[in-house]
């Protein structure tokens, strides 16, 4: 079952191999105070592709993910060097407003973090602050579309005014995905989106990620190699702040070129 699934994906991969690069990083270093957290990383994020970042905890994969939408800006002691572009534009250029960047590069977090508001207001939050709707019915459309895209609509359509915190864990995470989707981003970053969920909810979210790929470029950080194998087309392996290997997911899992990758995949480090 697992194997055939992967085969399907690799066939699909062949089809998009010529796809364009959405985001590109060159020589990225991140420092937390005196700690050198990310060392000279080059990564290309392809459009309409799921890219997975894997590696042992503390390897810098989440930190690097946060480089991509400048979430590290909110941490005082964090310093980022190197060049990262979105569609050719340097996102660390002083002219760039991180607020506009984050509208294009959305993010979903490890723990579901719905706002203490109604389900509707949670999803409508992004469109409202970015002014994406002309009027109320427009906004309702966006909310419905986003909830549908997050495969949550059928479960919550009758209680849109109920508080978002009242949903189950898996529903909350899908609500957060709907919330991120509602701002119509171009890239969607997911920081271990399933680590707080049970297996059933995880399966739902993974299915959703696969669907999102048709519209967005998705970057997912995960602890689980199986998850990376299941959902991604490209995989980057981080170790101690270095990008050890970045290749087609198939290649990484079947024929890694670096011995460290192999050790990790076979469970000897991590």
């Amino acid at each position: 079952m697992e194997g055939s699934n992967m085969n399907d994906m690799s066939q699909f991969d062949q089809g998009v191999a010529v796809d364009t690069i959405k985001m590109q990083s060159r020589g990225v270093n991140v420092f937390y105070g005196d700690t050198h957290a990310i060392k000279d990383v080059d990564v290309d994020i392809a459009d309409k592709t799921v890219t997975a970042f894997i590696g042992p905890s503390g390897c810098g994969k989440s930190t690097f993910l946060r480089v991509l939408n400048r979430m590290n800006d909110t941490i005082d002691i964090c310093r980022v060097t190197g060049k990262t572009t979105l569609e050719g534009e340097d996102i660390y250029d002083p002219k760039v407003d991180p607020v506009q960047l984050r509208a294009k590069v959305g993010m979903v977090f490890q723990k579901p973090n719905p706002f203490p508001k109604s389900i509707f207001d949670n999803v409508a939050y992004g469109p409202r602050i970015h002014g994406l709707s002309q009027n109320k019915s427009d906004l309702e459309d966006i909310v419905e579309k986003s909830l549908r895209r997050a495969a949550l609509w059928d479960e919550v359509k009758d209680r849109l005014q109920a508080p978002g915190t009242g949903l189950s864990g898996g529903q909350q995470q899908r609500l957060c995905i709907a919330r991120a989707v509602a701002t119509s981003p171009e890239v969607l970053l997911m920081d271990e989106p399933c680590s707080a969920l049970d297996p059933i909810a995880t399966a739902q979210v993974e299915e959703l990620i696969d669907e999102l790929r048709t519209q967005y470029s998705v970057v997912i950080v995960t602890h689980s190699m199986q998850q990376a194998a299941r959902v991604s087309q490209k995989t980057a392996f981080f170790h101690l702040g270095n990008l050890v290997e970045f290749d087609e997911t198939d290649t990484i899992f079947t024929n890694p070129s670096d011995p460290r990758t192999e050790s990790y995949i076979t469970g000897r480090i991590g």
Binding site: I21, D44, A46, E87, G88, E89, I91, Q100, G131
Partner: protein
């Protein structure tokens, strides 16, 4: 890796801020400015408050004196001539007034200072307290009688105010307590170096004075009263507070009584202080017949007020001692009581002391409850705290007043010179508070432990 083409020409460039983003960023900086303004307002309020108090009060630490030789004529001060202080005490301050007046006038003449004022008007420049000052000097040392001493004599509040800028020639025209001529004479004396405004220790050591002699009013009694109350609070509140905290934190079973006590303590911490004053009045004075304005009653009331603060701080520092310490002691066969008294309590001590000092500082500044138990009374006697009249409660002490209450009573007096005194008293109070807080900070810094 670079075989893929980079997608270019984004629909919305990141480099250009759209109108909406600009608007949002303006709102953002507006909001941020509000925040900064709020912080600044708080700090400015603090600065204005302190400047106002310092500006009004610093001059209380300086006082104007006039120096001239005083001839202590024997026939007036010691009619019998045997230098017996008990007999000389029969001469009241009224007997000393003419001596001062004549010596002052004679000195002016000797110095060649001409004035059209009569001797009464000249004497009125001196403080009403001055004769008492000289009398005390003479009674302490009877041998002075018959000699001429060079004395520094306190001058009246209005003349003093002239050198501090509070009184001007213009205002003197409208003031029946002082005339422009007196001020001009004072100026001349100052020019000749006979009248000077110098540092005023007496402000800290002397007792209060009546409403017509602000220049002699001091804080001595109030400081002693406050000190005595702080000792009472420390002696009662610290052990009781620590005992209560140990029980609640370490021994108390989780039941309704414990819950009730906990809710009670947090509520007591927020009960208006004046309510404690009513409690003190009703229980200690009306029911138990303790002396009004006794610092013991004040101390008891302040103890009850301070207890919640101390209990809350003590419990927090007991909680901060990790359970591993307790378990280690218990594991060696110590009883629970021993593990707490030998190991936990010493480790929690810095925190407890810090909390206690902060509680004491609160108590030191508290005014309202003390007004109700009569500590606002006018007290001129240095209190004898161990006075043991057989018909009063032992250790009760004589009436006293306290620093913040002294401030209040001075604000109720009509002479504007008392504004200066009240502000000066606040400076003394703030200095005490500052010292206590510094001790608390040092304690915390020195003994702060990270587990």
């Amino acid at each position: 890796m670079t075989d893929m083409p980079i997608s270019t020409a984004p629909a919305r460039s990141l480099y250009a801020q759209d109108a909406r983003t600009k608007k949002r960023n303006r709102a953002e900086s507006r909001f941020r400015t509000y925040g900064m303004a709020a912080v600044a307002t708080g700090i400015i309020a603090l600065i204005v408050l302190l400047t106002s108090i310092l500006g009004n009060g610093l001059s209380a630490f300086r006082q104007t004196y006039v120096s001239f030789p005083v001839e202590l004529t024997a026939e007036r001060l010691d009619p019998d001539g045997n230098r017996n202080p008990e007999e000389m005490a029969a001469v009241t301050t009224f007997g000393y007034l003419p001596i001062l007046a004549e010596s002052f006038a004679a000195h002016l003449e000797a110095e060649g200072i001409e004035t059209e004022m009569g001797i009464r008007e000249i004497a009125a420049m001196l403080s009403e307290e001055a004769p008492a000052q000289v009398r005390a000097m003479v009674l302490a040392n009877p041998e002075l009688v018959g000699t001429t001493i060079d004395a520094q004599i306190l001058v009246g509040g209005r003349i003093d105010g002239y050198f501090k800028g509070r009184v001007t020639l213009d205002s003197a025209e409208r003031d029946r307590n002082v005339t422009p001529e007196q001020l001009m004479l004072a100026q001349e004396l100052a020019d000749r170096g006979m009248m000077e405004t110098r540092f005023n220790w007496e402000f800290i050591t002397w007792p209060d004075a009546s409403g017509s002699r602000p220049e002699a009013a001091g804080l001595g009694v109030a400081i002693i009263g406050s000190l005595y109350m702080m000792i009472v609070v420390l002696v009662l509140a610290l052990p009781v507070g620590v005992a209560a905290s140990i029980y609640l934190e370490e021994f108390a079973p989780k039941n309704r009584l414990t819950d009730l006590i906990e809710v009670n303590i947090s509520n007591l911490a927020a009960v208006p202080s004046i309510v404690f004053g009513i409690l003190g009045l009703a229980v200690f004075i009306n029911f138990m017949n303790f002396n009004q304005s006794s610092p013991l009653v004040g101390g008891l009331v302040l103890t009850l007020m301070t207890l919640p603060t101390i209990i809350i701080a003590t419990r927090a520092s007991l909680r901060a001692v990790p359970p591993s310490i307790r378990q280690a002691a218990l594991g060696l066969g110590a009883s629970k009581m021993q593990s707490i008294f030998h190991h936990v309590l010493p480790l929690a001590m810095p925190g407890i002391l810090t909390g206690t000092i902060i509680g004491l500082a609160q108590a030191l500044g508290e005014t309202a409850p003390l007004l109700l138990i009569g500590m606002v009374a006018f007290v001129r006697e240095y209190p004898d705290f161990l006075s043991t009249h057989s018909n009063t409660f032992p250790l009760m002490g004589d009436g006293a007043t306290a620093l913040p209450v002294q401030v209040y009573s001075w604000t109720q007096r009509s002479d504007p010179a008392f504004v200066e005194r009240a502000s000066g008293a606040i400076i003394v109070l703030l200095v005490f508070l500052l010292m206590m807080n510094l001790i608390a900070i040092v304690l915390r810094r020195r003994f702060e432990r990270r587990w």
